[in-house]
Amino acid sequence: MSQYLWKIGGEAGFGILTTGTFFSKIASRLGYFIFDYIQYPSLIRGGHNTYNVGFSDEPVYSLKQTIDMLVCLNKDTYTFHKDKLGSGSLVLYDKDEFEIVDSVIKIHIPLKKTLSELKGQVVMKNTIALGASLALLGADIAVLYELLMSQFGRKGEAVVNVNKQFAEAGYNYVLANYKEYIKPLLVKRENPPQLVISGNETFSLAASVADCRLYVAYPMTPSSTVLTVLAGWQGKTNMVVRHAEDEISVINTALGGSLAGVRSSVGTSGGGFALMVESISFAGIAEIPLVIFLAQRSGPATGMPTWTEQGDLLFAVHAGHGEFPKIVLAPGDNDEMFELTIKAFDLADIYQVPVIVMSDMLLSESHRSLSKGLVEKHMKEYKPNRGKQITAVDQSPYLRYRITDDGISPHLIPGAEGAYYQSNSYEHLEDGHTTEEALDRIHQVDKRARKTQTYLKSHFSPPKIYGDMDGAEIIFVAWGSTKGPVQEAQRILQGKGIKTALLHFTHMFPMDKETVLPFFNKEKRYILVENNSTAQFGKLLRMELSVDLKETILKYDGRPISMEEIVNFILK
């Protein structure tokens, strides 16, 4: 089946987020792959919220634009989104609240009347509408009841029953009045179990699996849910989660944890990351492992806090004064977020460097299906690779910054008897003491730089190819979360007889020129796709590879690039 898009909209503060997540979980429990996306203003009450869920019997990489079912909890929802309706799209609304004069398929649901009859609170409108939606898709309402039980069961049976009552009212109203519009699109099917999980939650899960024991953050959209999720899990993970006073304290606290030998991490968005930059440089020279989760939003400055952008790539790559090695990774979906986050913790320890894991609002806050089996496999099998971390002195005297061929020095966990050393932000001798001698300076700069060479040889991964590069006439080039829309566009273009390939980068920096350059030597039409206005990855490719991509699809209005925009660019 092709993707089906369900969209619900209403006033902020009235439970849209919960209802949308419920819809995703129900579709997933019924054996479908999902992808959802929330749009909301930077407000708590008032303003317009929408929640979009796409589901299909095959993986959904990105949401299509045409709405198949639009659930309007208020008039704005209809007004703002009616231009995205297709000819067969259904519009659910309450004619007692507002009129629709256009010739669309109108499904009247008596939200107001039901509320007053059953004496419900306004948020129950969502539940009625959810029940009605499920009826129209031929779903078994029992799946919603099970979900209500698992979500609200701890609040008591009464709460569950109230919700059930309203869901049932919506469900039965459709069965009684709109039988002709019911399509069996959400009928239970067999599918390996999937998690309905956001990018931030995936990062949180991966950090827990990777044995991160100290997470420090200051709330900043769209990274904040990592802090709240990990804080809520402390009883199960034994992680220490600290909400510090500012981002400078955040990163230095985490560096203190790393110095003590504990896997540590921080999470933030652009503005908070900017405050951390001096300390990234400290981690660079003092060779302190750290994983930094950077969830981008539309900048600059406060920008558009709840909207998406890939505007911080070059900032991340260049973050920190002076010259030192760091690693920047950018997962494109939840599978990569899970696996690369775990890899990031290993890399930070192995190379004793800051590792930045880049996300953005689209990846951080959208739920997608993530194979439960994949996660469980890692939970069972993963063992941290701490690199050259040691707990007892390996040679005397112990030299924290010992010159080695691979650039990596043994890292003694403080507390070992008979030794001591300092981690020094000043240039230093092998033993950690401060120096300003020319030759010692050169030795240490070169030693640190060798870590980059070792990384490129041992852990750098070239871009992944989706499609057949040789058979394709168009090669898309993308990084991070733009992977999804390109993959969906590839499906559409394939259907129109246009062969394409996608070159998707996750290991952003440093980049191994010899490995990557051959991907760009084909006589093909290369098109760079980025969610920013200046084609930052294009600049990085010029800088690192002297490759100049002329054709670009760029979007910077705060919204993710859609598959239709990419397809239209090709077909225009």
């Binding site: 230095n252 941290p384 403080p414 300092q422």
Partner: protein, 283 residues
Amino acid sequence: MSTIQDFTGYQPTWCPGCGNWGIGVAIKSALVQMGLSPSSVFVSFGIGCSGNMNDFLNAYASHGLHGRALPVAIGFKLSNHKMKTIVVAGDGDFYGEGGNHFLHGCRGNHDITAIIHDNSVYGLTTGQVAPTASKGYKSKSTPAGIIEMPVNPLSFAITQGATFVAQAFAGNAPHMIETMKSAFQHKGFSIVNVLQPCVTFNKINTYPYYMQKSYKLGPDYQPNNKVTALGKALEFHEEKFPLGILYKEDRPAYHEHLPQLADSTLVSQSKPKDLAGLLGDFI
């Protein structure tokens, strides 16, 4: 038993007569008398003349960024709360650049001792005014005299939740050692503000100045009363400098509130075995 020699690193580069010499010896003496060794102490140094002690004091240490010694110490303490953790920083570093961390460090009552070298100037950058300088103090960066009121670190610490607040004078080694030992022994956030002449750049707050204007709190002084302690701390604005423990209270340290750390330090724990329970939220 360790000795002063065990803690002694490189020959200091401080100016002859600088108060740092006395503070350096006092810290080492206090650590020795506490039975600690260079392998059992973590020191987080700030940046400045005081921070340069990193090369002169042997210990597990971090010489980090200007203003950021305290958060590094907090992260270390959370990860290995059995290790004695000390911050060594100057007044510009701790009360200026790192002022926000000072505030929240007091609130958190982290089990850390901060030894703050208070000489009212930025020595390492050649004598600009520090936040503790008296109003009107003339320096290279304030040729017409500083307009701001001085920071009062003692009253600040007392009101913001520090559980051990003391003052010492770099010219009185025995008293400094005793005060530092008490601070090291205290469980919770302890601060020792050390009045320290800068013989090169500060011609006002000299050894004779402090000898004349400082006095030791007597044996009758009870440091358990916040209001009395605050009264003592405010004498600073009349150029009177009480020496000793102004305020002390017992309150659980930050890490003692964390059930994760009840049985062992974070660094010594084994990986949690069963995380499968986390997946229920996503089904």
